[in-house]
Amino acid sequence: MSRYVLRRILLAIPLLIGISALLFILMQKVPGGPLAVYGNNPHMHAADRARLIHAMGLDQPLHIQYIRWLISAVKGDLGHSLFTGRPVLAMIAERTPNTLMLMGLSTVLSLILGLALGIFSAVRPYSKFDYVATTGSFLGYSLPTFWFGIMLMMVFAARLHWLPAGGMHSLGQEDNWLDGLPYMILPITVLSIVSIASWSRFMRSSMMEVLRADFIRTARAKGLSEKVVIGSHALRNALIPVVTVVMMAMPSLFGGAVMTETIFSWPGIGRLFYDSLGKSDYPVMMGILLISATLVVVFNLLADVLYSVVDPRIRLD
């Protein structure tokens, strides 16, 4: 197993380099570029533009720029933002707790509700509860975030005045933990609805398949109570495929939700990415994408390893 893990890690290195090279090139090929913010400034001349491009290091050939970036990235330095002039790592670090809080809470909530919904639906398939849950999850899964977020804000912020319309704190209350609570409710609801919908579907189908298996019939024949049959025999087996799905969702804990964070003015990583995209702030975008890509690779591996733990039939070598 350790050999397997080592091999996977070694394979990940060229993969990440390939991804980063591809992203680096694609990013700079998008028309506009970092000088687009200067627009049609009548006071900017060709010399001014050339001076700024040189200061940003963008006058170097693309491959030289990439190799420079790669070397410092390997050393743990993701460079400086083209606009703020601050280290990319510092900019990411100050946003990370905000995103982790938002995504963490919504993931926990979705896991609890999604898995519970899936299990109940599977235990009583084609019941009224199952139909309601199924319809609900299809609805939830197909709701576009930007629309649903605005609609929630319309109802709870604009009409009822129960909850604030975006932000993370009242102005001047940044250290007041209690003040922040109402600000979390709407974004977490939006984020959770989609995950609950999809995870409950996975859980339901996985559970139903297991419940049809021979060993469940045997367990029932032995006279075990339904609670034990479902709770320990069926659930553990049904969770196996769900582990993969959940693990694959983990990297987004860091990456955040671009749409939701933007709609709700949440100062997280997703918004940082969105802002950087608008300005073509290449180093910041590269930093966020590189960390996200690394997390995807890591959690992919973790999912495979975990798979062999929950399912002894699978052996990694």
């Binding site: 400034n41 006071h43 200061a55 606009f83 002039g85 605005i150 604009a158 319309a165 100062p267």
Partner: protein, 565 residues
């Protein structure tokens, strides 16, 4: 069953419909809410977060609202586009002898206002003016533009309150220099020991020190910038205690926050939001005339447009009044030239050079040899009178204007196809951008000019063909070059005025562009906020923030009474 395909256009239309529905709903619901902030606090919404709070090395519009209250320049611009001495005691002009010729160049004496201190208590002196010039010329400092500063040969500081600036040639817009929004006076004592490269990434850029009515207090990344009143401000302590600039990227969320009284100023409403705000009695919409104009550019490199008859026929075929009345809802006034009627460079005799007259358009085309073909589109020597118009995709009003214009042109036998692209591709610098590399037929977008008409030089001078400048129509005219050069060198306004009138005449005779309408910037403001006076210059509305105050008692009096617009 008929299938409805979800095209991007339909999706956009659906989103727009939903958004206006949403706006209407929230506008109705909140008729009772007033304000939620303390009566010594005002919150301004900014769509974007600034990158730095150092105006000299940022070009982000988002930074203007944060930095203008912190800093002062030598010269300010008021809401009637009049220049006033800000850190100066008097504006230097040739008339008062403070601007004098010197050899081939000129000499300007700036007299600083006594008793001005930076927020850290250090007095402002002429040395700070010298430092700001040096800063602009430092090869390591990432200033956006050295325009004007590169004509300065030296700054003398005979005493702490006098700066004498030597120019190597006459430079008419000299009052533009050392001023907001981009070039206020920075504290030399905090910055001059730094290397230029360190200046670019200095902590000063996130916690600036200026002379303005508000002091920097905090910057909560991704959330807001907080400013507090400067009790020692040289014009007296501001009436407010706190000023927040809050970053709210989503327009709908921001509108709800304005409607709920969480924010007091929402800059740059669109036309739908103006309608929605009418239902909220405690809001008023401050209409601010803008020097930016919407126009049609001709690519004069294309043989088709080299015949001025075609440009003139197109000008007569377009009903600007109808466009202004319908699509721009009467809010954006018709433009008969590039100069705004508020500006001293506007020629009152310009009249209506190209009135809407389709018959005349047809006659001009007939005379130029373009005869209607079998499908109604005119033809000359086998070439059809057909071209494309390019604009920024996704901007609803521009797309509507294009469609209406295509209709006007079709009526006189001209075929125009619409070919919109993403704004980044249209405006990118040479050689990527379609405008800068002349990869378009006609284009619909906006030109914005500064308070001084010398900004026109970048658009119409033959030396300003990209990549050097913004002459994206490829307008080459020797007389225009002479007039613009002269306008840049002539110091007295009374001598400059006829030059810019002449410029307008040349433009109207040659039509490299057809100006359509001037923008009106529309700001949603809480009626309890008093003394909100929008300013057409690029300092927008924060220029007089020291006079703002909240009147909780009389919502009906409101800013409106004090905002004649």
């Amino acid at each position: 069953m008929r299938q409805i395909r979800l095209t991007p256009r339909r999706a956009l239309a659906a989103i727009a419909a939903l958004a206006s529905l949403a706006l209407a709903a929230c506008a109705q619901a909140n008729a009772h809410v007033v304000r939620r902030n303390a009566s010594d606090t005002v919150v301004i919404r900014s769509q974007q977060e600034p990158d730095k709070l150092n105006p000299t090395i940022t070009n982000a519009i988002a930074a203007v609202d944060c930095t203008t209250p912190i800093f002062n320049g030598l010269v300010g611009v008021d809401d009637h586009l009049q220049l006033f001495p800000d850190l100066l005691t008097v504006l230097p002009t040739p008339e008062n002898g403070m601007v004098k010729p010197e050899g081939k160049g000129m000499l300007v004496t700036f007299k600083l206002r006594p008793g001005v201190r930076f927020h850290d208590g250090v007095p402002l002196t002429s040395h700070d003016v010298w430092f700001c010039w040096k800063l602009h010329m430092d090869p390591k400092v990432i200033v956006n533009s050295r325009d004007g500063y590169d004509k300065i040969t030296g700054v003398d500081t005979p005493d702490p309150l006098t700066a004498v600036v030597h120019f190597k040639e006459p430079y008419a817009p000299y009052l533009r220099l050392f001023s907001l929004p981009n070039d206020p006076i920075l504290p030399a004592h905090l910055l001059e020991k730094m290397d230029g490269a360190d200046f670019n990434v200095s902590t000063f850029n996130r916690a600036p020190v200026g002379t303005g009515p508000f002091k920097f207090k905090e910057w909560v990344s991704g959330d807001h910038v907080g400013l507090v009143a400067n009790p020692d401000y040289f014009r007296g302590a501001p009436k407010l205690k706190k000023l927040y600039i809050k970053f709210v990227p989503d327009d709908n969320a921001a509108f709800i926050q304005l409607a709920n009284g969480d924010i007091d100023v929402y800059a740059d409403f669109n036309l739908e939001q103006v309608e929605a705000a009418k239902r909220l009695p405690y809001l008023f919409v401050a209409n601010m005339p803008s020097l930016t104009y919407e126009q049609i550019s001709f690519n004069l490199k294309k043989p088709l447009f080299q015949d001025v008859a075609i440009r003139k026929a197109i000008a007569h075929a377009i009903n600007k009044d109808e466009l202004s009345r319908t699509i721009y809802k009467g809010m954006w006034p018709v433009a008969q030239g590039t100069e705004h009627p508020l500006s001293w460079s506007y020629n009152p005799k310009v009249g209506v050079p190209y009135p809407y007259d389709p018959a005349k358009a047809r006659a001009i085309l007939d005379a130029a040899g373009w005869k209607p073909g079998p499908d109604g589109i005119r033809v000359k020597n086998g070439q059809r009178l057909s071209f494309t118009m390019t604009s920024t995709a996704g901007r609803k009003t521009r797309e509507q204007v294009e469609q209406v214009i295509a209709g006007y042109l079709k009526a006189v036998g001209i075929e125009m196809a619409i070919q919109n692209v993403e704004g980044g591709l249209l405006f990118a610098s040479y050689p990527t951008g379609l405008l800068q590399s002349y990869k378009y037929d006609t284009a619909l977008f906006a030109y914005s000019t500064g308070v001084d008409p010398s900004d026109n030089l970048a658009n119409w001078h033959s030396h300003q063909v990209p990549p050097e400048g913004q002459n994206t129509t490829h307008f080459i005219n020797a007389e225009m070059d002479r007039v613009l050069d002269e306008g840049n060198r002539t110091l007295a306004r009374k001598d400059r005025q006829p030059l810019y009138w002449k410029m307008t005449d040349i433009l109207n005779a040659n039509l490299p562009v057809i100006p359509l309408v001037f923008w009106t910037e529309m700001h949603g403001v809480n009626r309890h906020l008093m003394n909100f006076r929008a300013n057409p210059s690029s300092s927008r509305f924060v220029w007089n923030v020291q006079d703002w105050y909240i009147d909780d008692a009389s919502p009906s009096a409101g800013g409106k009474a004090e905002n004649p617009s």
